[in-house]
Symmetry: C2
Subunit: 347 residues, 2 copies
């Protein structure tokens, strides 16, 4: 297992990455090769600060950083020496198997597209977000990469999300739902109606149309939608959860009695926060590329980095990329009306 | 003020409607005429039970009910004697000014379309949902009526939502945001890019593109989107809020210490629930029709019905329907490239 970590572009710099790496190593993360890609002096300093020495660790110097202001596609072309491009090149040249980055999502996606390319049979790469629920979590694909989609793209998202849910989140037979405005067959716009028809022909555990009410009610494990709607769902959930915690805090601070109650019940609030923390799932995987790619939140701290490294190890250990390629080929041939390789042999 | 109330089709029957009416009358609701539309025996019984007598109250018997199973457009045509159709007819024949119903949303929308028709200049009626936030609330249009929209429809939703926010929710200069996948100009799909261009030409307080993160962060008062995305936002928020309350309850019940804390802080939880209760805003107005229409939640209880009656009175008092017709005419003429009547004179 060889992992390239782009240490630039986050809110907290390489320090937290190295801190998270230390936690992951203690938790059993054991890479043959680990590249830290970014500005060498600050990486050196972070390693010294944490007193970290690791066999197989290599610093790959990259002078530039892709910032939030850069227009992704342009930047990837104009900044050949930026850390995310360098990290992708390590995978493209078969020196590494996976890239982890906390940079600008659009930039990571563009770098993956240009440097790695898509798996054979995959029409569009996708971003998957893992969103916690009271019972477990669901995988939302596409969470914002492609805002205009065709029905067959949604089918491919369903395949990729299912593989990820099965292998990385250990869901046995993930329930795939098509995001729609109601549960009845025939609901929705042209895109969802045709995607519905196609999804029924696949080997997936397709449970049909779902609506917003189903998301947190343990009815679905993989939520399939175009990147516009997926982006809206992801950010709306983040915004509402934050607002509710804020309101609760404000209400609990209104008087002494409530503050006392809050102190006694503080573990409950902490547990709720932990339960809803998407960082437990490491980050958002970019699916469908010729390499394993994980996007980590820009505000990630040590614990999140530790999760990201462990999740990447799981993704590689279970050959998620290869499985996706095989299942996409099977589904493509079913949809093309040709006899498919037996889907059941794929799981 | 003459209001027709469709008392059928909810989870709790006419009892709660009459209970809510009693509360509203005590709070100053004073209709000249109030029609209770539905099955006469059960209405009679509810009135007797509550000991309610009111001058100007009239029971309009309707034998049938539009159920959740009925396909709206068919049902409105095939069940001419159902309560929602009868209630709309009272407005269509100028015997009433407004309809309130807790029936199937699609059915109410279809009945409004066929029996009332749209205001001149309005291409599509819309459903607006009022969603509470930490600071106040925002109006979401369209919340699910039209799942495929054109850019000019979004502009009309913006106009209608703005009038409602200004007059009924007392927001002085409501900030109108276009739902998108990011804040930057030029973001989005064809629909939002063109709607953005058109919205900039209107008299509205258009703040530009917004994303999910802005919804609960006090950055927008009117959220404009197509009915597919609007429906997803509305139901996702309902689902997540419910899930968070459920998780919190579960965590607070785990041990004695937490339970004690929860008792001390119980007013804080109650305040949060009240703050996030969409029923405080009476229900979802259907905008753009030749009559005032409010959809009340099927599970509404007395307090929600009281809000619905008071909100309807406000909507009529402020001539929301007439204002919408005037502002739509002004915006249509701006977009048609003709000199508009001064938009500032409209507020």
């Amino acid at each position: 297992m060889r992992v390239a970590v782009d240490v630039m572009g986050g809110d907290h710099g390489p320090d937290v990455v190295v801190g998270g790496l230390k936690m992951a190593l203690e938790a059993g993360f054991l890479p043959e090769k680990l590249y830290l890609v970014g500005q060498r002096p600050s990486i050196d300093q972070a390693l010294r600060m944490h007193g970290l020495r690791l066999e197989g660790l290599e610093i790959v110097h990259a002078n530039e950083v892709l910032t939030m202001e850069d227009r992704p596609v342009h930047a990837v072309r104009r900044k050949p020496d930026c850390s995310i491009v360098r990290a992708m090149e390590l995978v493209a040249t078969a020196q590494a198997d996976a890239v982890i980055s906390m940079g600008n999502t659009g930039g990571i996606f563009a770098a993956a597209t240009f440097k790695l390319g898509r798996l054979p049979g995959v029409d569009r790469g996708a971003i998957a977000a893992v969103i916690p629920t009271p019972e477990h979590a669901f995988v939302l694909v596409d969470a914002g990469a492609n805002i205009e989609c065709k029905p067959q793209h949604l089918v491919q998202y369903a395949v990729m999300g299912s593989v990820y849910a099965r292998k990385v989140l250990q869901m046995e037979r993930p329930r795939v739902g098509l995001m729609n405005v109601g549960r009845e067959d025939g609901k929705g716009n042209e895109l969802t109606q045709e995607a519905f028809r196609l999804l029924r022909q696949t080997h997936l555990n397709f449970v049909g149309n779902i609506e917003g009410h189903d998301l947190f009610a343990d009815r679905v494990d993989v939520v399939v939608t175009d990147g516009f709607v997926g982006n809206v769902i992801l950010k709306t959930c983040e915004s509402l959860a934050l607002a509710m915690f804020g309101m609760l805090r404000r209400e609990l601070n209104r008087n002494v009695k409530r503050r006392l109650g809050a102190i006694l019940a503080s573990n409950a609030f902490r547990a709720l926060r932990r339960r809803l923390d998407p960082e437990a799932y490491g980050g958002a995987p970019l699916l469908g590329f010729r390499g394993t790619v994980l996007k980590v939140h820009g505000s990630a701290r040590e614990r999140a980095w530790c999760s990201a490294l462990l999740i990447t190890a799981e993704t590689l250990r279970h050959h998620v990329r290869e499985l996706i390629a095989r299942e996409i080929a099977a589904v493509n041939s079913v949809l093309a009306g040709q006899p498919a390789t037996s889907a059941s042999s794929l799981t």
